[in-house]
């Protein structure tokens, strides 16, 4: 029971991070109907920017005071968002009206290029960060000394994610920007005829997706304390799997999918074998897609002839 609870906490934390990345995938997919293959790399760049700004602030302040993490978060969100914007400008906008596969290849190319760009500029070695937020709540203790631990960092991750989700859902449902996004999702041509600036809306979608990925990157740096240029690939695949699992195009679905993937991974590595946790996640994906081809919360596609 205690062990189960611990895995549940770990899984939820991991899932929250996947969910944040998955939102970027699902939004872009919803609006332009394409897998943004470079999104994992954007998340990786976000993590690097967060680490660099933490180190910069540390060196300025001499490491004596507590780093204002909020400032770091804003910095990495803004700078990563610019990367997202540039990505859309360079790799997607020229291919807006091309065959879909062309855009997919362009995105894969961008993902390879960005990964190697960071490898070249920052080196291939692991970058580490000493834990900034320490301490934890001890929830439960077993007789043999095993304690269920909920660290402050895990609380921080879950709270941040929940807050962002709420803000984000409100934005989609209440603001004019969200309305424009939903309009573009339904029918881009019609939306542009009715005065929605489609190009701008798509740009903003990429920017928001990148900013959320930056939050995920920031949280990962603080939580695990180890990053390298390669983290984007696997996290990207997992997050995309999460988005598909939840039903691509649906934002609550992305969050649900992320948490499910996180839980599957945590429980699989806790109870079975850690090596095959990715296989477990993909197998669940295949199973779900066989029985619900549009994902858990996706709307069924009606094909008209």
């Amino acid at each position: 029971m205690e062990y189960f609870l611990q895995q549940l906490i770990n899984g939820l934390t991991l899932g929250a991070i996947y969910g944040l990345i998955a939102i970027g995938y699902t939004m872009v997919y919803g609006i332009i109907g394409m897998i943004n293959f470079a999104h994992g790399e954007i998340y990786m760049i976000g993590a690097f920017i967060a680490l660099i700004s933490i180190m910069l602030l540390e060196s300025i302040a001499g490491g004596s005071i507590i780093i204002p993490l909020f400032v770091v978060l804003i910095i990495s969100m803004v700078l990563t968002a610019i990367y997202g914007w540039a990505l859309e400008r360079v790799a997607y906008r020229p291919l807006r009206n091309s065959p879909r596969l062309a855009a997919l290849i362009s995105a894969i190319g961008m993902s390879i290029a960005l990964g190697n760009y960071i490898q070249l500029t920052q080196g291939a070695r692991n970058k580490t960060l000493q834990p900034v937020i320490r301490g934890n709540f001890e929830l439960m203790a077993r007789d043999d000394g095993f304690t269920v631990v909920l660290s402050y960092m895990q609380v921080g991750i879950i709270v941040t994610t929940v807050v962002l989700m709420v803000v984000f859902s409100l934005m989609i449902s209440r603001t004019s920007l969200g309305r424009a996004q939903r309009a573009c999702e339904q029918d881009r041509t019609m939306a542009s005829l009715l005065g929605v600036d489609v190009d701008r809306t798509i740009s903003v979608t990429f920017v928001i997706g990148a900013a959320l990925a930056a939050v995920a990157g920031f949280l990962v740096v603080l939580y695990y304390g180890v990053i390298d240029f390669y983290i984007g690939f696997l996290a990207g695949i997992k997050a995309f799997t999460a988005a598909v699992l939840g039903g691509i195009g649906s934002i609550p679905g992305a969050m649900l999918g992320g948490i499910l993937i996180g839980l599957i991974e945590a429980f699989w590595s806790g109870y079975f074998s850690i090596e095959y946790k990715d296989v477990a996640a993909f197998s669940i994906l295949v199973l779900v897609l066989i029985f619900r081809p549009t994902g858990l919360l996706g709307r069924p596609e009606v094909e008209k002839v």
Binding site: I108, L120, V244, E303
Partner: protein, 480 residues
Amino acid sequence: MAALGAALRMTSLPGMLKEAGITALVATALLIPVVGFKIVNRGGDQFLDTRWPEVAIAVVLIFVGRIFLILIRNGQFYMPVAGGAVVATIGWLAPMPSAFLKLVAITAGLVIVLRAVFAVFAVRRRQSSGHEIGRGFADNYRRALPWLVCAMIIFALAMPFLPFSERRLVDIAILVLTYIMLGWGLNIVVGLAGLLDLGYVAFYAVGAYSYALLATYFDFSFWICLPLAGLFAGFFGIILGFPVLRLRGDYLAIVTLGFGEMVRIVLLNWVSLTNGPDGISGVPRPSFFGLEFKRYPPEGPESFHQFFGIEYSSLHRVIFLYYLILILALITNYFTRRIRSLPIGRAWEALREDEIACRSLGINPRNTKLSAFAIGAMFGGFAGSFFATRQGFISPESFTFLESAIILAIVVLGGMGSQMGVILAAVVLIGVPEYIRDLQEYRMLAFGAGMVLIMSWRPRGLLSQRDPTIRMNRVGGQAR
């Protein structure tokens, strides 16, 4: 947006400066965090290093480059060409803080020159009513194709004996041919049947591992293993194909990607069979009808050079491998060509165009898709066992998602469904970077950037004519 409006009218000098300035500003924001600062590990410590000169030079480069691009858009020719040449020369001669920046400067200059030249050609073509010329080119291409194919086959056959062919070149040719074969195999799945497969490398891996295991455990010769490996891979194609039959488009893509990763993870962790991350070494080399390529063969059988009474040379095996992959690739190509005119090939193409129409015409989508998966996988398996025998060593490292992406890129870049396009794309993507070894470090960066550039330049692929194998008579059109 602004870009659209600007494309129609000339941009004035202040407008130009403003546009280039904004680009430079964005570039500054992009470059400062990851180029301006570098996390350096020294000893056990980790600290920040700065690289401001690099950032400054890169931003200036981007500013100047943007101005030249605007000039090209305005219809100027000489100024961008001269400017591009100047940038390239400065990049070449001036002292730069890093070799990478030098490279970037030179490439940027050359790209500007090329861009200007292309722009001029595009304008000329448009002026002389481009439609006619476009069709003329397509017709000429179609007429010249048989000759072109003959010439290429003759060149390919003669290649190892041409005066300029050294060992390295033949090695590169083998690599390129392997990718051409993989491209042609994937073309069956993606180009003909229209099923987006992002995990093609799984079949490549299955082929390679089944050859390596059969050959090391059971001592089967290459010629027995090759069909077996193809069979295994094809069988795998069917197994993996079954659950994904109902999926379409991107769902299919992500599931195949997942399968590709799953196969790799299993290979990595099933240590008792595959030896895990250490891989299998000492995979037997192929023999020429039982004659081995060894200087000192073991007792009994003769070796290739003894049998033919020629001096031993390590080149013999390389040339043999070259012909082996050439023949395998040509078989793949011939098979694809023939199967396109069989009912099953027609069904693939029909399925690609419209699944619902296919269903209503009585084509069984399940069997059709499965056969495409299986046959594509089989060729992947052949290529895989060739890979294993060429390398003599395989490990899961060689079968990452990147390989799948490269193979798919070759198919799409070449022009979906175009057999010639695959050759062209494989030479451009694999051969050229392999030949220019100096760029080793920057190879993948250039590779990715190249994919983006080529796609935005020719979104339909380098050779984009996609002929349906059969076409109905159009009303008022001529019969074909």
